[in-house]
């Protein structure tokens, strides 16, 4: 049996029944990572010794009959903008190249309590700014389905790792599509929870009103399992919600009959790849067969989402990234003659071009004389977009769209034109602006064997419906069972 092809839930069940030891699981995934990661650059660091030691301790506890957690012995890959104590957390930036996290993020603390094995830290676009992982200071990550293509971004390393089965689970973060878009490009499930569902404490801040941590997995059951572990109120994140956390792995199985699904016409535009459109229509037919009612709806302000996002996200980023000044941690320039020069040169040497571009854009939007025209205006349009979703959810229970307009593009294809790269996020951004949950689900392949995904957007805190829709779709299809052979 090849342990690396098992789902997280299967691994956890086998470990509890003592059919499999955590050490065997750890060794299998570490071995596969050793042979495959050099071709993908999905992991920036692999915590081999720590993982083997934790697996051994877990096996000893299980042998003594002590209770194991929900994720006991399940390997998980962690995006390298989430703090893991005593482990480097670089955000794929030169400015944090040698930063060792002094504490665990809340999600990491919860994963450790649940018995998960934190196998390594994954590559991303620097500070999660990008859609291809090409903005990493430590090299691009490759798409396991075609290594000449990007895995998407910014959580490209996590998506690539799960698709290639270098871990059955991963954590990413999603500010404008950074979980859902790479999930779609890599043929796996990626879920952005409702804003406030998962604590952001210990996630390096990019745009605090949009950022949310969420799971990557092979199937709906695994996402449900992981989401249940990481969700909940955290006193260390005042924006986290105190709503009770549903038992997602149970909710998953509730039937879809009577469910109303909306198809917003603004997402089925001429820029949408024809094959993707066909695959989405196939998925819609499966939902009809499962008893859902499908209707056309309209979200007329969709076309403004990218413009709103590229004011608000850089504005928040310019404030959040002010902390990288070479004083307390991170890169410090050796060229500076005085304190101000130390700030300016440390930042110029430490940040890559996309991060600088966004800091510039955000600083400009917030600067005297432009604040009302840009930042305030964008905030007001954000409210209009959110209200439009509220209205739509009076008519339907979920909204189904393509996740991205095209399949994974070639490395280098869009990197010279920032605006074109921004426009590839066109279908994922509104979800973050509205704060609602969204999931990307694999639904087929193009002629070039590249994965296609659809996106489901749900009501605030209704992750259960997204997961049950994914679960029932996957019970009728087998796209999620395909595994790439990495060349």
């Amino acid at each position: 049996m090849d342990v690396t092809t098992l789902s997280a839930a299967e691994i956890a069940r086998k470990i509890k029944k003592k059919d499999l030891s955590a050490s065997e699981v750890a060794k299998s995934f570490l071995q596969k990572t050793k042979s495959t990661n050099p071709k993908l650059n999905a992991y920036l660091c692999v915590r081999e010794e720590i993982v083997l030691r934790s697996a051994k301790e877990l096996d000893d506890r299980i042998a003594k009959g002590e209770s194991a957690g929900d994720l006991a012995g399940v390997p998980i890959a962690i995006k390298d903008n989430i703090c893991v104590q005593k482990t480097k957390t670089t955000c794929s930036s030169k400015i944090l190249e040698n930063f060792v996290a002094p504490y665990d993020a809340t999600v990491i603390r919860k994963l450790k309590q649940a018995g998960a094995l934190l196998i390594g830290k994954t590559n991303l676009d620097e500070f999660a700014m990008g859609s291809s992982t090409e903005n990493s200071a430590f090299g691009v990550t490759k798409n396991p389905w075609d290594t000449s293509r990007v895995p998407g971004g910014s959580s490209g390393g996590s998506a690539s790792a799960v698709a290639a089965r270098l871990a059955p689970l991963a954590l990413g973060s999603d500010t404008g599509g950074s979980i859902r878009q790479p999930a779609s490009f890599c043929g796996i499930v990626g879920l952005k929870p409702t804003y406030g569902r998962v604590s952001r404490f210990g996630l390096v801040a990019f745009a605090s009103s949009l950022d949310q941590i969420g799971p990557f997995s092979i199937n709906a059951e695994d996402s449900a399992l992981l989401l249940k572990v990481i969700s909940g109120k955290d006193p260390l994140d005042s924006t986290s919600s105190d709503r009770p956390v549903p038992d997602y792995p149970v909710e998953l199985k509730k039937p879809l009959s009577g469910l109303k699904i909306g198809l917003p016409k603004e997402y089925f535009v001429k820029e949408l790849d024809e094959t993707i459109n066909d695959k989405i229509r196939d998925a819609v037919r499966i939902y009809e067969k499962l008893g859902a009612q499908v209707k056309d709806i309209s979200l007329p302000h969709t076309a403004y989402a990218v413009a709103v996002y590229y004011i608000l996200a850089p504005s928040e980023a310019s404030a959040n990234l002010a902390r990288y000044d070479g004083v307390r941690y991170g890169h410090r320039s050796r060229e500076a003659a005085n304190l101000i020069e130390m700030y300016e040169k440390s930042r110029d040497e430490g940040f890559g071009p996309e991060v600088k571009r966004r800091i510039m854009l955000g600083t400009y939007s917030l600067s005297s004389g432009y604040y009302d025209a840009y930042y305030s205006k964008a905030q007001k349009v954000r409210t209009i977009i959110r209200e439009e979703f509220n209205q739509a959810f009076k008519e339907v229970d979920a909204i189904l769209t393509p996740t991205v307009p095209t399949p994974a593009f070639k490395i280098g294809e869009k990197s010279s034109d920032p605006l074109q790269m921004y426009l590839s996020d066109i279908f994922t951004i509104s979800c973050n602006l509205a704060g609602i949950p969204g999931i990307s689900v694999p639904c087929g392949f193009t002629k070039e064997s590249l994965p296609v995904g659809f996106q489901i957007l749900g009501k605030p805190f209704d992750e259960s419906t997204l997961l049950s829709m994914t679960y029932h779709y996957q019970s009728q299809t087998s796209w999620h069972e395909r595994i790439p052979s990495v060349k």
Partner: protein, 95 residues
């Protein structure tokens, strides 16, 4: 309204970024292009729209102002580019 190189230099100063000449050149064109795209928001009438700080909550979250123990001092100082005893060391702040 085109963005000029002078605007870029002003914003770089506000953002504490020592940009090279090449970077200033690139950003002037690129940012102008992005801001041109963003202009489309002007088409919308937003006078009745409000600004919300949080999508679902409009209450302020309070906590007790209590002292808690922390044993992170050494781990935090270990990340500093330059330290002296328990201090972060920087260049002279005042003349």
């Amino acid at each position: 309204m085109a963005l000029t190189r002078k605007d870029v230099e002003h914003v770089a100063k506000l953002a504490r970024l020592a940009l090279t000449d090449q970077e200033k050149e690139n950003f002037t064109g690129q940012l102008d292009n992005i801001l041109g795209y963003i202009e489309k928001l002007k088409e919308l009438d937003t006078k009745d729209s409000r600004i919300n700080a949080h999508p679902f909550s409009n209450k302020t979250v309070w906590r007790e102002d209590e002292a808690r123990r922390s044993d992170l001092k050494e781990a935090i100082l270990a990340n500093s580019p330059e330290r002296e005893e328990d201090f972060f060391k920087v260049k002279k702040v005042m003349d």
